[in-house]
């Protein structure tokens, strides 16, 4: 018997369900866009304007009460000009300085000892204490690096003279995202994650609802085949997922000004493989879950690893071997790579066909698994 018997009927009915519940459909469509906007504006991994206090004992010894002498002032100005530090206050004691740090008002405290200016003028090594709040590793890392660079720069200037060229001049050039804009890096990956929600959840719900209402029992007594039933069910959500993908790309491109270096139609084409896997995973979940609440829990078990192991947040190269291995089983891993590849690196089919193929293969495997479970559930 034709394994696709009943596909049309299922697709017809499922589309009616989706269209009938307009509010749910609208919410499902708008939610990822909303999240894209919120996260797009909120996520900025570039460390800027870190609140900094200065305790200048050397300046106090100069007697004017402000950070008075030119040696410390030059250094403080350089800190302020770096864009990393924002000096918001000068304090006059260790207690005051510590209080600012503990209260979290200051992330960085810079302390010049009394002998700072004197040692510098004598040509001796002058020490500066830079206290860094380690509770945010990104801020701490950046503060240490930048303050070190400023000190090194200042030292070289003093040794070599004001306008002398440095012996070695490193000229780093960041490819693909020259301005290091956070949206450029985050949004292409985020698209992959946001798509999981729409596709996996909606399909999982649609089958579980039929279980809860008892209509599945009726379908089983008809000639509808498991494969046709599943494919018919995912059809409208596939269309929804595809429009979501396009909407997310448009938002990313026009609202957040993230340029697409590669071929956008190719990206959409490759993303169909990803949508397919997620939809089949939704179906697989629904064969297991008895209620919508259970379906949400199971879907979460799929979605959370997608967020953490796909390389969207944490680079996969730094993961322990076991998680690195696991990340190969997560569809989002491939989609994050495809999305960043096309959008940021301008990669084409030649570079990304394997990712798409793996997604397609995963989708077929999950679909067959689900079909088997379906058959067993029926009998």
């Amino acid at each position: 018997m034709n394994p696709f018997t009943g596909f049309q009927a299922m697709a017809y009915k499922e589309t009616l369900h989706a269209v009938r519940d307009r509010f749910a459909l609208f919410a499902a469509f708008m939610m990822p866009l909303f999240q894209l906007v919120v996260l797009g504006y909120a996520v900025d991994t570039n460390v800027r304007q870190v609140p900094t206090v200065v305790f200048d004992q050397s300046g106090l010894s100069a007697g004017d009460g402000q950070s008075g002498n030119s040696e410390t002032r030059a250094f403080i100005d350089r800190l302020g000009n770096s864009d990393t530090f924002h000096v918001y206050r000068h304090v006059r004691s260790d207690d005051e300085m510590n209080a600012e740090m503990i209260a979290g008002r200051a992330r960085v405290a810079v302390k010049f000892p009394p002998e700072f200016a004197r040692n510098l003028l004598r040509g001796q090594s002058a020490e500066v204490l830079v206290l860094v709040d380690g509770s945010d590793s990104a801020v701490a890392g950046q503060a240490v690096t930048v303050s070190g660079q400023i000190a090194l720069d200042e030292s070289l200037r003093r040794l070599l003279g004001e306008h002398a060229p440095h012996p070695i001049d490193v000229r780093p050039k960041i490819m693909f995202n020259p301005a290091s804009r956070s949206p450029n890096f985050f949004l292409p990956g985020m698209i992959a994650i946001l798509l999981v929600f729409v596709t996996t959840m909606l399909t999982a719900f649609s089958v579980v609802r039929e279980k809860e209402r008892g209509t599945l029992e009726q379908l089983i007594v008809t000639p509808v085949r498991p494969l046709a039933l599943m494919l018919g069910k995912i059809t409208p959500y596939f269309v929804l997922g595809l429009s979501e993908m396009c909407a997310l790309l448009l938002f990313m491109n026009f609202v957040f000004q993230v340029p697409i270096h590669g071929n956008a139609p190719l990206l959409i084409l490759l993303s169909t493989c990803y949508l397919f896997v997620n939809l089949t995973i939704g179906i697989l979940i629904s064969t297991k879950a008895a209620s919508q609440a259970e379906a949400i829990q199971l879907a979460m078990m799929i979605i959370l690893p997608s967020v953490f192991l796909s390389g969207y947040i944490f680079p996969r190269d730094n993961m322990p071997a076991i998680f690195y291995g696991l990340s190969f089983l997560i569809p989002a891993t491939y989609m994050v790579n495809i999305s960043r590849g096309v959008i940021l690196r301008g990669a084409g089919a030649a570079e990304l066909w394997l990712d798409a193929l793996v997604l397609l293969a995963l989708g077929v495997i999950v679909l067959l698994l689900a079909a088997r479970r379906f058959r067993r559930m029926i009998l």
């Binding site: 018997m1 018997t5 009943g6 009915k13 009938r20 209402r213 209509t215 009998l379």
Partner: protein
């Protein structure tokens, strides 16, 4: 050719035997009432006959097709309607019908013609655009029947189709069943209502996996041993049924006694004549309004058969 032939059907779930070697034959055009207590194996039997539950043993033919060898063809030729009215609440009456038509691969003009036919037969015209969830119970049930009949099945299985439906809707559904049955369609119905059982042309009674009665309603009521030798049945109408029942049950000669409205149906040893019984009940203030001999009802028959089977099992 028989519509349904079940031969020694067995279904086990691990150690539990849900259906234990039952056999019966249903002729085309019959309304076959399949009765039995909850959990006695009715639904399991239906599922096996519909080709969605494999048999552990035995054989079954539905519409001339072996359900083990070709369950797909069986599913295409039968209709199934459960007590839950498996309709899509958010789809309209017309959409529900169209969906079930498409499921059975009816297309285009044929589908439109078939839908018109069913709509006219079941009188669904006023509700075509209404969502199924907004229909009353009786109309949901009619729509479910329409959906199950759209592909012109030869045999329709109805699993407690009237559970929770008001008496008028129940009567209307049965009128529809008779009408379709008159056109040669076979119905396989499970029910707990004795008045529905009375309307079937053929009854079978399953009790914990075993078939313990099979025949027409009349032949079952006339089973010789329903009123065992040396006993008689009596209907006792009285002003105080509950008190009277207690007294009747206390008499050693009374085998069983049940209340029906304002009267008691009792099975009594012949050693205890009516007058003695009347004296035992009707002293201080309890008035006996009527005493009359009683033929066993279908319910009596099923209760008697069940209890007998229970005693066999216990022995």
């Amino acid at each position: 050719m028989a519509a349904i032939i079940a031969e020694n059907l067995v279904r086990r779930f691990d150690a539990f035997t849900a259906v234990d070697g039952i056999s019966f034959t249903v002729q085309p055009g019959e309304i076959f009432g399949f009765l039995g207590p909850n959990g006695s194996g009715k639904t399991v039997t239906i599922k096996m006959l519909c080709g969605i539950l494999p048999l552990t043993g035995g054989a079954a033919q539905v519409d001339g097709i072996d359900v083990v060898r070709d369950p797909d063809s069986v599913r295409a030729r039968i209709g199934y309607m459960s007590q839950k009215f498996a309709l899509y609440d958010d789809l309209t009456v017309r959409e529900n019908l169209r969906f079930y038509g498409m499921v059975y691969d009816i297309r285009g003009a044929a589908l439109a013609r078939r839908m018109e036919e069913i709509i006219a037969r079941i009188h669904l015209e006023p509700f075509l655009g209404r969502q199924a969830g907004k229909l009353s119970g009786g109309w949901k049930q009619r729509l479910a029947l329409g959906c199950a009949l759209l592909h012109e099945p030869h045999i329709l299985f109805l699993d407690e189709p009237t559970a929770g439906i008001d008496p008028v809707a129940r009567r209307q559904l049965w009128d529809l069943l008779f009408e379709f049955s008159g056109h040669g369609m076979t119905f396989f119905v499970t029910t707990h209502y004795m008045d529905e059982a009375e309307r079937c042309s053929h009854l079978a009674y399953i009790y914990y996996g075993r078939l313990i009665a099979d025949g027409t309603p009349l032949s079952l009521r006339q089973l010789p041993d329903m009123t065992p030798a040396g006993t008689y049945r009596l209907e006792i109408t009285t002003s105080e049924v509950t008190v009277a029942l207690r007294r009747v049950r206390a008499l050693p000669a009374v085998r069983s006694a049940t209340i029906f409205g304002r009267s008691i149906h009792a099975l009594i040893d012949a050693t205890c004549p009516q007058q003695e019984l009347a004296r035992a009940i009707g002293d201080d203030g309890i008035r006996i309004e009527d005493l009359r001999p009683l033929a066993p009802s279908l319910e009596d028959v099923f209760v008697e058969l069940s209890e007998r089977r229970q005693r066999e099992l216990a022995a």
